[in-house]
Amino acid sequence: MTLLLIIFFLAAVLIINLPPKAFFKKIAFWLALFLLLLQLVFVFLPRSLWTGLNTLCSSNNFSMVQDSLSMVMLLSIAIVGLVALLVAKAHIKSENKLFNFVCLLLLCCIGMNGMVVVTDLFTLYLFLEIVAAAVYIMIVFEKNQNAYEGAFKYFILSAIATTLMLAGVGLTLSTVGALSFTALQIYFANTAQISAGATIGVLLFMAGLFIKSGLVPFHGWLPDAYQAAPNPVSILLAGIVTKSSGVYALVRLGMLGVLVPESLKTLLLAFGAATILIGALAALWQKDFKRMLAYSSISQVGYIVLSLGAGTLLGYAGAIFHMFNHAILKSLLFVNSAAVESRTGTRDMDAMGGFAAKMPWTGATSVIGALSISGIPPFSGFWSKLVIVIALWKAGLHYYAAFAILASLLTLSYMLYMQRKVFFGKLIEGYDDLREAGFLYILPSVILALITIGLGIGFPFIVGTMLMPVAIFNW
């Protein structure tokens, strides 16, 4: 079944590049829309149907997981992919360019869907490179100098990251003798004296993932890439690409019990705390709307890693919930910035002010997104931060719990600063005939805002049925 999600996307990419080109260029957008909606439907199918279909179409050589974590990731990929596709339809005017974007988006989806269902370290790397190769091209879509700069920085740091990851794979292979997740789980659970080779291997692999997820001090590429990319690509990058290619693998390694040694947990805690602080402080300085959101994204990834550092079931649940929330909220805020840019043609926050009066839908949804991401009840962002704080406190890490609470004040401060600059206050000169952004910007932002409100209000219902079981490892 999960294999189908990869095969369908691959088949779609091949088919739309066949002749007659003119015909397929017209339907490419609708085909991608259909496939992503299909993925959304697939995720909500009952588990028994999944298992049934899986025996029909899986092969023994390419085993895959369909546990709840993979489901959450597939759901986020479908949602963010749809949002990026709709914004691309509005943002990219030329039919040829839209066609190219759709092809790259489908390739990216193949990579991400593959990455969240594979069961060994090397295949994980393989799909990660598929995503990366598609994303480099997407960043340089508009072929200006900033785009090349962002893409090349991402390219170099990714190359270093993949080298580290492969060195980790090699060392793990030389000590554990296999690369499948099951073998790693058994090795780390049953070996009394874990050898230095395996620990260093895991450390190197983690270092690669740290670069890929943009943790401080490896975050240099991230703001440049997010800022230089075209708006739909920024949504895709911030919402899901860095999450599934860096953070997902960290969560998976944690759930496998690979991060057992205390030193690894301390490492995660230290990196998480530094990332939250430095990302938030840097976000306060920014003048560019998208660059500010990029630094905010760095800071939120810090929360996810901090929660992983707790090393408990509740910690993993908090990390996964925050990852999902972040995918929803950061795409929402990037859609808002894209909507503002589509009408005003600028991203400089100093040249903005009072846009909420002229763009009521964009203004309202962006307030919801900003409040939710800074952890104000009753939105979903509040609950995920609460789970993270409780997990840290219960694990005995009281200072880190206090730090997480205080740092969310920083989040609130830069989000309110952004709101005050862009949407609140008096309308500045020269924007008297500003209109609300197009339907394709409003629709995704309203849907995403409804998701965060719904999750927040319905949280008591999902905590026992969906949230906690996600963190339990079963396949």
């Binding site: 100098q145 170099i156 190359a159 270093i160 993949t162």
Partner: protein, 106 residues
């Protein structure tokens, strides 16, 4: 792993670390985008050899071989995209030095 094999693997690791350091040095020292790509290739070659050696010492050579063949293909695809970016930079600025890529700060 017996003693002889272990010693051999240790020596091999030493050699691979040197290769890796050479790649990292090339990336950090040069200002030329093409040379940065070459440095990346050297680094990837070092880890490719490491995987082969790891497969040899754990008697897992079949797994290591299939991994390495896949790795080479993936690496070429990624390098192609990187070279495309360098060509784009050259067509835009007429320069293949890192200086062309220093707009964004902070």
């Amino acid at each position: 792993m017996n003693g002889d094999l272990n010693q051999l693997f240790g020596l091999f690791l030493l050699f691979l670390s040197l290769l890796l350091i050479a790649g990292v040095y090339l990336i950090t020292a040069t200002r030329n985008l093409i040379r940065i790509l070459i440095g990346m290739e050297i680094m990837t070659k070092a880890v490719t050899l490491l995987i082969i050696a790891a497969g040899y010492v754990t008697a897992n050579i079949a797994l290591a071989q299939s991994i390495v063949i896949t790795l080479i293909i993936v690496e070429v695809v990624v390098l192609l995209v990187g070279a495309g970016i360098v060509v784009g930079v050259f067509m835009l600025t007429g320069d293949i030095s890192v200086k062309a890529l220093k707009n964004m700060r902070g």
